[in-house]
Symmetry: C3
Subunit: 180 residues, 3 copies
């Protein structure tokens, strides 16, 4: 009988540990390419990491363009990949806000305000994210679609390339999941 | 004493089973009517279902237009319903991307790239979703607002019409919830 | 031995109660400033609260403008804050839909349809939300960026001002989290 109770307790314990959403962990899909949403995702991510949560960002579709390093150039692109490369923002500092951009004026205003109000810039946010161990994964299919190469992406600690299964595995053990 | 332990174990066991987020299940609100977001929602949904997760998509607002079957025609619409019907994309293959559409050129480019890179088309994604048992629910209030009728919707296994309570019931037992 | 079992049971019980996502609770970031997304967030929030879920809305970025009371005026704003104040919608009834606005025609059509189909208006939804105990938190950093003052915000039961840590604490104990 005592052995039976021990077994049942062990079973409950392992169920508790393996249950979905068990970890203090945040998983986020960064789909949008807009500056305002990039700011939001980074403020949430660095906040979560600072609170001790494991934090994973999965960049996909328009979001991936912000991970390009404007100083890195790669060859071997076909004409369509070159076009995409030129039309999409070359890195996080070329992204613009989703509303009231007004030919760049709105974006400049927001950036000016952020500086004045001591809100961290995109560069600072990525720096802090790296230091706090925020994990960044770039969607392989999106990179392939847009003709982005791994070598033109930013230097970031342990930057990974992955697929939707990677995101889903992370998300299902996370206590918070968001799509931005 | 032994009986008391049994009772406590049973109570813990049932609490574990009934807890929020207990299931390996994904619930998604598909609010957006843009092609890029429809692709993202379908890739996540089919990926989750392929990994064995119960998967439910709740189509609302602009998202519902993508579920219309362009070959089906229904009568009995008033003038405003007819206008909405004409202005909104007639089915998933008429949706356009949210950025860089450039009068359809951007959408055509993305579709061409998807084909070239062997990414499944919207038709194929819906086909696979149906086979994998991804459940689709259309928001009753949205259909009513936009004047869409049940009879003009696509043929899809067990397509349901439901309200926000249906979504919330699904979402609260899901390990992953997303709003796209 | 019996004491050991009791201890183990107690440990399991407290783990169950303290686990992430333990509560029937919904946390939502309302980032968007569009009428259609405001309607969606309020319908989900009032639905959740009506089903007995603890419900928290965290308004940030463009979303905050909808919480301004058009009848309240505050002084002491600088030129940029005044510009933002004029350019952003002055309260929830000045927000417009994200697609097909057509100079306000689309927004008027949607509002007309909502009335005709007996869908609650924004005013009614906020009224109901307040009665059902939906908690509203306004993002401090967003208010600061846009030059909004606490005194120009709507009268709403227990309206709070908070930061990202507040949202994350709520979200990690919630069974549902959404970013709209």
């Amino acid at each position: 009988m005592a052995i039976d109770v021990e077994q049942q307790l062990a079973a409950l314990r392992s169920q508790l540990e393996e249950r979905p959403g068990a970890k203090k962990k945040l998983s986020m899909v960064v789909f949008s390419g807009d500056l305002d949403k990039h700011i939001a995702s980074m403020i949430i991510a660095t906040g979560a990491a600072a609170m001790g949560m494991e934090t994973v960002l999965f960049y996909t579709f328009w979001g991936t363009a912000a991970l390009r390093d404007p100083k890195k150039r790669v060859g071997g692109k076909n004409i369509i990949e070159k076009m995409f490369g030129m039309m999409l923002p070359k890195g996080r500092n070329k992204t613009t806000i989703s509303k009231m951009n007004m030919g760049g004026l709105g974006t400049a205003m927001i950036k000016g305000l952020m500086k004045k109000k001591n809100v961290a810039s995109m560069d600072e946010l990525f720096e802090v994210a790296g230091q706090l161990g925020v994990k960044i994964i770039i969607c392989e299919m999106s990179m392939d679609l847009m003709g982005f190469k791994r070598e033109e992406m930013i230097d970031y600690p342990n930057l990974e390339v992955g697929g939707v299964a990677t995101f889903l595995a992370d998300a299902s053990e996370s206590s918070i999941q968001l799509f931005i």
